[in-house]
């Protein structure tokens, strides 16, 4: 470098637009006015272009099967992704709406057998009326949620497997365990497949495991 006011570091960062705000106040103006610095910048840009050309013509293997594999993997993972690895994170992502939907269905299935009626038992009977409807998808039977219409075909349904905490049942007034065990079992969950319609609305639930 012949120019005494400039150094290579500043010139490279000027070319890369990585100058600090104080440097940006004088370096570009100096380069514009200094023929030597302009030549240096051109040399930097020239080397950079040569590197770019060499990088962009590096040999790479392209195969459309790779993308197809990734798409298949993503689809498969969405269907059977074992949320059991990190139930807390999944619950955050899925939101309480999903948890309540799954819990509701569980309540429909289990509550009539395990929970003694607290009032007149009529809600359970109503729920049982809904349970009698079922949705069949890919050989799997789902208990229809109260507002879903099992007579309508589920368009582009998806199945999401998730852990549903028993504690959420307490929030909606349905106990799956004897009252004395509720506190102890607040952290327990059950694994369920939740059938989702094209709009993301839960249509039905299939309890996978109940331990």
């Amino acid at each position: 470098m012949k120019c005494e006011r400039m150094n290579w570091d500043l010139l490279v960062r000027a070319v890369d637009k990585e100058l600090s705000s104080s440097e940006a106040e004088w370096v570009p103006a100096h380069i514009a006015a200094c023929p030597e610095c302009r030549r240096e910048c051109e040399a930097i840009e020239n080397v950079s272009l040569r590197i770019e050309a060499a990088v962009n013509r590096s040999a790479v293997l392209e195969n459309s099967a790779d993308r197809e594999f990734l798409v298949a993997h993503v689809t498969q993972q969405h269907r059977v992704k074992p949320i059991r690895h990190a139930p807390e994170k999944v619950m955050r992502r899925f939101g309480w709406g999903m948890a309540i939907a799954a819990t509701l269905a569980l309540g429909i299935i289990v509550a009539p057998r395990q929970k003694p009626p607290r009032t007149d038992g009529a809600p359970t009977e109503q729920a049982m009326g809904t349970v009698s409807n079922a949705i069949e998808v890919d050989g799997e039977t789902f208990v229809a949620l109260p507002y879903s219409n099992p007579d309508l075909p589920a368009s582009a349904p998806r199945i999401v497997q998730m852990q549903v905490p028993l504690s959420s049942l307490a929030d909606i007034g349905i106990a799956l365990e004897p009252v004395a065990n509720e506190v102890l079992n607040q952290d327990r969950t059950v694994l369920a497949d939740v059938l989702l319609g094209a709009d993301g609305q839960p249509l039905g639930v299939h309890v996978v495991s109940w331990e």
């Binding site: 060499a54 040999a59 993308r67 939101g95 999903m98 809600p123 109503q126 729920a127």
Partner: protein
């Protein structure tokens, strides 16, 4: 009884964010794949990884990214995340990124690329030779210098390069400057 306890829940369809996010994750993943898989392979190629291994590493990295997204991982800078994973995966396969590699950069056949219509066969040959010289010269740089210069050609700012390589921004700047200086001497 008119209303059972279970029917107190909203009859209005719920917005199930999880599924929508899942779809978004998939779209994000595939968009990133379409945009970045070739640059990632080029990056590995410039670090001396043979094309077949580079293909495997990139594919594995996108599967890891899918896990990352499904697990609710940070979506802040997924491009830098990918380069970091690819870089570390290559390292884990005990590649030295240097002349000891089986896939030496100067052994690689340049990829077929669009050629200017008015470019003669002789000009194309000369261009390929020039590119080969650059690749050979880059092998004489340190791994960090090479990595920084390659990521710089992908349009990354120093901050993003730093994030990709787990370096400080100032170290990235030094690597870029020294790498360019050395290349200028060699070419």
């Amino acid at each position: 009884m008119e209303q059972g306890r279970v029917l107190i829940f909203p009859a209005v369809p719920w917005k199930i964010e999880s599924v929508e996010n899942g779809s978004n994750d998939s779209r994000l993943l595939l968009d990133l794949y379409d945009r970045e898989q070739t640059p990632l392979k080029r990056y590995l190629a410039m670090l001396g990884v043979d094309p077949e291994t580079a293909r495997d590493i990139v594919q594995e990295s996108f599967l890891k990214l899918h896990e990352h997204l499904l697990g609710g991982g940070d979506q802040g800078n997924l491009r830098a995340w990918l380069y970091r994973v690819v870089h570390n995966s290559a390292r884990n396969k005990q590649m030295s990124f240097g002349a000891r590699n089986t896939g030496r950069i100067d052994d690689l056949t340049p990829a077929a690329s669009p050629v200017a219509k008015d470019q003669s066969a002789e000009e194309r040959l000369l261009e390929q030779e020039r590119e080969q010289r650059v690749r050979a010269a880059m092998q004489k740089l340190s791994e960090a210098q090479r990595a920084c210069l390659v990521l710089r050609t992908q349009g990354m700012k120093y901050r993003e390069i730093a994030e990709s390589l787990d370096l400080s921004v100032s170290t990235v700047g030094e690597n870029v400057q020294r790498g360019l200086e050395r290349l200028r001497e060699l070419l």
